[in-house]
Symmetry: D2
Subunit: 311 residues, 4 copies
Amino acid sequence: MSATRYTYLGPEGTFTEAALRKLPESATRELVPMVSVPAALDAVRHGEAAAALVPIENSVEGGITTTLDQLVSGEPLMIHREVLLSITFALLVRPGTKLSDIKTVTAHPAAQPQVRNWLASHLPEAVWESAASNADGAKLVQEGRFDAAFAGEFAAATYGLEPLFTEIHDADNAQTRFVLVGRPARPAAPTGADKTSVVIWLGPDRPGALLELLQEFAVRGVNLMLIQSRPTGEGIGHYCFAIDAEGHVSDRRVGEALMGLKRISPNVRFLGSYPRAEVRLEDLSALRHGTSDAEFVAASDWLARCQDGRF
Amino acid sequence: MSATRYTYLGPEGTFTEAALRKLPESATRELVPMVSVPAALDAVRHGEAAAALVPIENSVEGGITTTLDQLVSGEPLMIHREVLLSITFALLVRPGTKLSDIKTVTAHPAAQPQVRNWLASHLPEAVWESAASNADGAKLVQEGRFDAAFAGEFAAATYGLEPLFTEIHDADNAQTRFVLVGRPARPAAPTGADKTSVVIWLGPDRPGALLELLQEFAVRGVNLMLIQSRPTGEGIGHYCFAIDAEGHVSDRRVGEALMGLKRISPNVRFLGSYPRAEVRLEDLSALRHGTSDAEFVAASDWLARCQDGRF
Amino acid sequence: MSATRYTYLGPEGTFTEAALRKLPESATRELVPMVSVPAALDAVRHGEAAAALVPIENSVEGGITTTLDQLVSGEPLMIHREVLLSITFALLVRPGTKLSDIKTVTAHPAAQPQVRNWLASHLPEAVWESAASNADGAKLVQEGRFDAAFAGEFAAATYGLEPLFTEIHDADNAQTRFVLVGRPARPAAPTGADKTSVVIWLGPDRPGALLELLQEFAVRGVNLMLIQSRPTGEGIGHYCFAIDAEGHVSDRRVGEALMGLKRISPNVRFLGSYPRAEVRLEDLSALRHGTSDAEFVAASDWLARCQDGRF
Amino acid sequence: MSATRYTYLGPEGTFTEAALRKLPESATRELVPMVSVPAALDAVRHGEAAAALVPIENSVEGGITTTLDQLVSGEPLMIHREVLLSITFALLVRPGTKLSDIKTVTAHPAAQPQVRNWLASHLPEAVWESAASNADGAKLVQEGRFDAAFAGEFAAATYGLEPLFTEIHDADNAQTRFVLVGRPARPAAPTGADKTSVVIWLGPDRPGALLELLQEFAVRGVNLMLIQSRPTGEGIGHYCFAIDAEGHVSDRRVGEALMGLKRISPNVRFLGSYPRAEVRLEDLSALRHGTSDAEFVAASDWLARCQDGRF
């Protein structure tokens, strides 16, 4: 049944599946791997799945453009949740394989920046060949086509392999951010540590519009966590900006800022308000003076009294 | 009856009376001169008059601090109307007096900057003595204490004098702005060329607050026509700012900006929204993109849909 | 000799003289009282005095407009120093006079707001008459015209009177700020706690210019201590702004901000950089990140390397 | 000889080569195709080539991240020129092939979004297989492996093919921007229509830094043409921003803005000032009031006079 089905960027054994399994509710859902991000999201759009988990940002490679481009066009979707996953690799081999046996290694090309140094020091002679995904690489090792694959440690069981090394990562802090995407709905209630995502299109004819946009947030004390430009396909100079702001669409300061965006460019798309993943205490910046909901309400009451002549 | 009584800064024959008579409704009101601005305003506060006309700004001397200080403290009052008056003087004499007869002249000290050059070229030998008001000066001429008085031409009839010269003014464009002040009430409906007055108190502990304040207006495309600092009496560094902004409190962009002010400093006083006096076509600046009421309403509708999950 | 002569707003025994005597160098100068602020400043302009001490701001009444108007027009002058003086009054009487003997009191009208409450409780029956200055009032008591005068305690000796009460002040924190004004010269070296004064003229045709002006300071982390509008005499809507900014004209951040002002309006007048009077530790705000002289120099070196292709 | 050698992203017959040949000087240079962007740029870094032409931005796909990442890290390089190329495809076949003969087509995957619709309507049955580059696809057609290749029309001659269709493009205005990259050198003199590229790193600890950065440009009237975020590899929330601004590093307003950036973050890299490709008259926005070199020089002279006491 579609209401209990979640799709994700497959195949089985990818980091996306691992991220999905971090969500408690995944235990009671039917998890369906899809061949691509568009396929995973279209299943949601067509009502065949309740939600899809897809990668949206990678600390090494940046925004996942396929995902962004899918979210900003087509039938509207909404982000309901985000998941952060630290990316470290295991070297998976068929049981019994020793390091000195390894002549060929494989993985998705995106893995390369994370394992390059490790390879150079541990397997300087090994030949690298790319796979369509890290899970596919593991499958090819299972089938005997390659001697070893870099993949998430959790993929070992799926493909009958064993991890010869784990925790392989050239860069510390390599993380991927995933989002759980569903159809538009009333956003979940604020938790006190939320994030709001929005996309706005700005033409090349208003060079100051980006500054105006940032000021709509700044004047109301709303911090930005991410701002990312994407071409719109209409020609050089035409961009849209994907923005993650601190706070929830039901916070007055966030709502007023979003209305400001809408007035700067009617072409703006709300992508959702949802809890921030793994908030550290030091990330929770204090609200700027004058921007709490209580202060917004007090100001609104005062304005009503001015307009009524009761002051 | 107090409902039909208007007070003004007297005595009879002052520029303030002339300004008051420019208001059509003055024809059907009892006009009562008062000895001072505080006296004129207190009559309104105590319910003895419906409104008071007082000078608030002078293009030569600047803000009339007595009036500003009265408006920003005490029982709240509201500006209902403004009147602009060009200030030119007549030289008033007793009937029959010739220029060569004039040995002594008088007027309020504020008149001096406007007649100094004229005096130097026409009456270089005349002795100047100050009067408590221009009208008082005229009265002293009537009584024979002085030979001539500088005053508004309209004062001649009141004191049985005749204007020997008119249109005397050293500076072109010398104008005084007067305001008609009443008790708080629902502001008159917008006319399309309105002005909103407000006072905000900013302490010395937040040096950036003035910039924040201006940005609340700028981000919503509201132009300022006047900003004037006044000490609050709490010590050097404590100021309040009297601000005149284009637009009406019922305009969405103005209302949102005022709420922004209220959040910057709870200590803000609304002084009224009222039609601008003598608007020239070139003064009406076009609304900035995205700041019309229609655009505010559209943005507000869109936000409601986002919050409801209907998008 | 003019090089050792300082003029001040007289007569002897005024608060201005008291402020002047707070400057150590006054002990070795000839101190000459003048009848007015313009007279005191003209003596400097004409080379008859090295400097003049005049009041510029009063925590109760606000900017001393006569002084401001003198500084912003005419032959350029420069502020070399500022002096802060707490304003409290003494009740001066002829030796032997008792409180119950006092039927008449006098002082300059500006003293009234500071002594009104005291009078009401200590001498409710006494008749008040205004004097041309507080010192003049003391002189009139000496001559027997009045029974008591409110003036600075230091005026007692000058006029052969004795203080019956001291430390009289309705408002706490009443202070007057005075400036020592000389001819243009290279400003004294920075002390680390300096102030820079400047005046800029903005026409009514550029409603956003004040915001631009504040941003020139803000973008370089320069705090403003005072901003005061004055009409220019060209008509309603024409203002100049007198600004006091933290820092010294030789600080890079201040210099760059001043150049920004000059580009916004060529009509800008530098009034001097000078040590701040009576700085409290908590007034010294930390420099904003990126705005120290060292950081300006580093950025300038880097730009030169970019322009030269050495990077 | 390296001084006359230009590398480019190969192989022969790619759009990059076509862009390179638009530069007049290419006629007198040895043009060497390289297998990758890093290889093309490393040849410049190692002194084996004077410059390299590489794609940097694509109106359909966005920034070419490989190129950006190469420019922002490693030994500094400098952009000397930019070239804009409209991207339309030809369908290349072996001489004699007819449309109905075509069962298989090939091209680089990036070509797909531009030819998808065309394929669907003209060759709905054809099987698509990806090639390593469009030129490689053409070579594979020459070798008989595929029946047709999408590539630039100019590639036909190189591979002995003929264009069966030309001007194929799903999206109008599809353009790619290429840059000619050399070693750091004094930038060419301003032409009046220049562009300056710079990269700045901003950590997650200063959420307002992007706004500050934009204000450094705005306060000096410098328009931005492009702002693009890239992760730095240090973890989610760590970004650098690639910025293209109007103007030349030798323009005073641009130089001062760049120094402002350097003070916001010492981690900033200048990438060059160079003529804008294909400037249309309507793109040349007028300089904002107060931001011309002459006005900067006048302000600088005035500041020097203030600092010297000559005013």
